[in-house]
């Protein structure tokens, strides 16, 4: 994944988790199969589609697309929901967003996590008669395994240490007794 796309992925996870939606799980599951979709270049990639929606400020071309982990598209669609609600739906799931606030219920978002399945999404400007999800500050405890998966993936960007790099790379002295 390129840096720019990785930034979008990080944004999406944080946005979802802050609204009590399972962003870490969706991202961890998606990245575990993402190599199958050839590095985010296929139209089935929710991040690639999300970038298109966000960049063009237009969701029409994304409507009826078939993507993995449809929840991951929500943060990008939300950028367009400043003045009117946008409803994202797939299977029996429905999530509505308006001015950065998500309206849905847990029974409404329980599908979409099937790792290897493509979901046909629908986007419209309808509202949803549900309560707003409360913002939260911390990732839920039950997300810890997914956080671990994402952390392991992050480690792929870190360089294994060599004795030379230990000494030269940081450059600090070893002793502080002065």
């Amino acid at each position: 994944m390129d840096w720019g796309m990785a930034e979008e992925a990080g944004f999406a996870v944080e946005w979802l988790e802050a609204r009590n939606l399972a962003g870490t799980k969706a991202m961890a599951d998606y990245l575990s199969i993402a190599s199958l979709t050839s590095d985010f270049k296929y139209d089935s990639c929710p991040l690639k589609l999300g970038c298109m929606v966000s960049d063009l400020n237009d969701w029409n071309h994304a409507n009826k697309a078939e993507i993995f982990q449809p929840l991951l598209l929500l943060p990008f669609v939300a950028a367009l929901a400043d003045k009117q609600p946008i409803l994202l739906s797939w299977d029996n799931s429905q999530v509505c967003v308006l001015k950065d606030v998500v309206y849905t219920s847990s029974t409404n978002t329980h599908t979409g996590f099937d790792k290897e399945r493509l979901f046909k999404i629908r986007i419209s400007t309808e509202a949803l008669n549900e309560k707003p999800l409360e913002f939260k500050r911390r990732v839920n405890k039950d997300a810890e395994t997914h956080v671990k998966t994402l952390t392991q993936l992050a480690h792929k960007t870190y360089a294994p240490a060599t004795e030379a790099s230990r000494l030269a790379g940081a450059g600090a002295g070893l002793n502080d007794n002065d």
Binding site: D2, G4, R137, A159, A161, T162, G169, G171, A172
Partner: protein, 566 residues
């Protein structure tokens, strides 16, 4: 009417980014009225914050816990300090150390005993522990062994330490990391960023450090009393103020300047606006001139007590000391009696002084004009999430124009040249810290972080060549997702003249200490003491009032050493 016009100030343009945003100059920045430590102390004083020490439970070995409260109009914060008995062989400057003389957290509110018990199990472990949403910062410090011992000995005998011995080091303890924002379980920045007392940059971290300074003094006085209960004395106020807090800062801080272009613009733009404002003043009155002359003398004392073994910085300090003599002489020639005196002085400095001297004077001319410029500090923070989204409808023509306007400096760099492309910024898996490696000598290129905007812009320009002007950026990025990072950056910096460092950040000649110096000067640090090309020791809060004297002393007046006790 004519007379009134003659008295009016004028608008002087801010210095060009091509002049300011060069590493050699940024690596010569000095603290100013807008530095974050000074912003913090001004606020604490203005709002009548008061301070106490509810707990000081430290035993004869110097082991235990102490708490320091800062009580403001709306909220209270508490530094919880754990003192340890550290064997010499475990004392290390490096961020990767595993034991320290003292460890700290800044608690949001007043901690209960249950909180302190929980923190005592975690804070001493630092990175290996876990703190909670109730804590805002995590930090640690080591003693300056020689000075701590010297001062303990003096005080235990009933004597005050010698100023010249203090000035050789400048602090009793130095921090080796001050972590904020959600690190190791701490409170996320988003949860306190809206608090008025933390508006600006790095305010909770610097509140921690200021309280750590008091703890270091309390510790040395405590140990002196342990040594000789009958004869021990406390430090006298004037001498006590000569102790700052040290800090060792390595590469971790360097990528920050490149990763936060909007914030860096906000910092530098505020200082440049202040400089331009003062340069636009038509006439300086007698008080302002006298105050400035006195500050030149005091700042030159600072330069005289600035020690380093690093040849690069030694040369710069020597040059600065000579520059002070030149400035003192030109002031005798009444340069400040002329119209637009500060503009005249800055122009003269540019022609006659080195970067150290130029930037020192640029900071000093702000001192007499707090009323006009101090509010600029309110602009020195930014919500970076506002500029995250890429404007995909921008036309390629417009992007090309932005590239041409903003990155003219990069055109001259040939990144095919090995020396221009010598370095790789990466993160080490072992310690999760930024590192700088040699591209052509180590197998680290696959791990490269995007910290070379000049090179990335040139690659972008190359791939844009075959795209027609009327196509949109979104289409280009669909084809070239590898440029998504740099396109976001170019769009972000397009209206921020001081956002981009106009130098090659992967050149063999690049000195990370220049990046560190720039950032630390905005914190308010002094006495920059590079220990290599990539880490530096500094002093913070040297001369500043302590919590128990903030109500009666002016922190801004104490930012330079007094003429009398040196």
């Amino acid at each position: 009417m004519i007379e009134q016009e003659e008295l009016s100030n004028t608008t002087i343009k801010k210095r060009a980014s091509s002049k300011v945003m060069r590493l050699k100059r940024m690596g010569s920045f000095h603290q100013s009225r807008l530095s974050f430590m000074r912003v913090l102390l001004r606020r604490l004083k203005r709002e009548n914050w008061h301070f106490d020490r509810p707990t000081f439970d430290i035993n004869k070995k110097g082991v235990g816990v102490a708490t320091y409260r800062a009580i403001g109009p709306k909220r209270t914060y508490t530094l919880v300090a754990f003192a340890h008995d550290l064997p010499a062989e475990l004392r290390s400057d490096r961020v990767i150390a595993e034991a320290w003389d003292a460890t700290f957290t800044l608690f949001d509110g007043t901690p209960t005993q249950v909180d302190i018990d929980r923190l005592s199990q975690n804070v001493p472990l630092q990175e290996a522990g876990r703190i909670s949403e109730k804590e805002i910062c995590l930090s640690r410090a080591n003693r300056s062994v020689r000075l701590f011992e010297y001062v303990t000995e003096c005080l235990s005998k009933g004597e005050q330490p010698d100023i010249s011995e203090i000035e050789k080091v400048g602090y009793l303890m130095r921090t080796t990391a001050v972590y904020g924002s959600a690190k190791f379980g701490a409170c996320d920045r988003n949860n306190w960023a809206q608090r008025e007392e933390f508006s600006g940059s790095f305010q909770p971290e610097l509140l921690s450090v200021w309280l750590i300074r008091t703890f270091a003094i309390d510790m040395v006085e405590h140990m002196a009393k342990v040594r000789d209960d009958k004869n021990a004395v406390r430090l006298s106020p004037d001498i006590r103020r000569r102790f700052g807090v040290g800090n060792s800062t390595g590469l971790g801080m360097a990528p920050f300047l490149i990763n936060h272009p909007a914030l860096i613009h906000a910092w530098i733009n505020a200082r440049e606006t202040a400089i331009a404002t003062v340069r636009g003043i038509k006439k300086a009155d007698r008080n302002e001139i006298d105050q400035f002359k006195s500050l030149i003398a005091r700042a030159s004392l600072n330069a005289n007590t600035w020690h380093t073994d690093h040849a690069y910085q030694q040369k710069k300090i020597e040059c600065l000391r000579k520059d002070f003599i030149k400035v003192t002489n030109i002031l005798e020639n009444n340069i400040l009696e002329q119209p637009y005196p500060w503009n005249g002085l800055i122009n003269w400095c540019e022609e006659n002084l080195g970067f150290e001297g130029q930037e020192q004077v640029a900071s000093l001319i702000l001192e007499p004009y707090g009323e006009r410029i101090d509010d600029l500090a309110l602009q020195m923070c930014v919500d970076e999430s506002n500029s995250f989204r890429i404007q995909g409808k921008q036309h390629v023509k417009s992007l090309r124009q932005d590239l041409s306007n903003l990155y003219d400096w990069a055109k001259a760099i040939d990144f095919n040249n090995k020396k221009a492309n010598a370095r790789v910024w990466y993160v080490s898996e072992e310690k999760l810290e930024p590192r700088l490696g040699e591209r052509h000598e180590e197998p680290i290129e696959p791990y490269e972080q995007p910290l070379a905007p000049g090179r990335d812009v040139k690659l972008l320009m190359h791939d844009l060549e075959n795209w027609s002007d009327d196509e949109v950026v979104a289409a280009f990025l669909m084809k070239h997702p590898e440029h998504r990072h740099i396109v976001r950056r170019v769009q972000l910096v397009s209206d921020k003249q001081y956002a981009e460092i106009q130098d090659n950040t992967i050149s063999s000649k690049m000195l990370p200490i220049d990046l560190l110096r720039c950032k630390l000067s905005f914190f308010g640090a002094t006495k920059f003491d590079p220990r290599s090309d990539r880490w530096v020791r500094i002093t913070m809060y040297q001369g500043a009032p302590f919590p128990d004297e903030l109500a009666t002393l002016d922190p801004d007046d104490l930012a330079y050493p007094p003429l009398s006790i040196s």
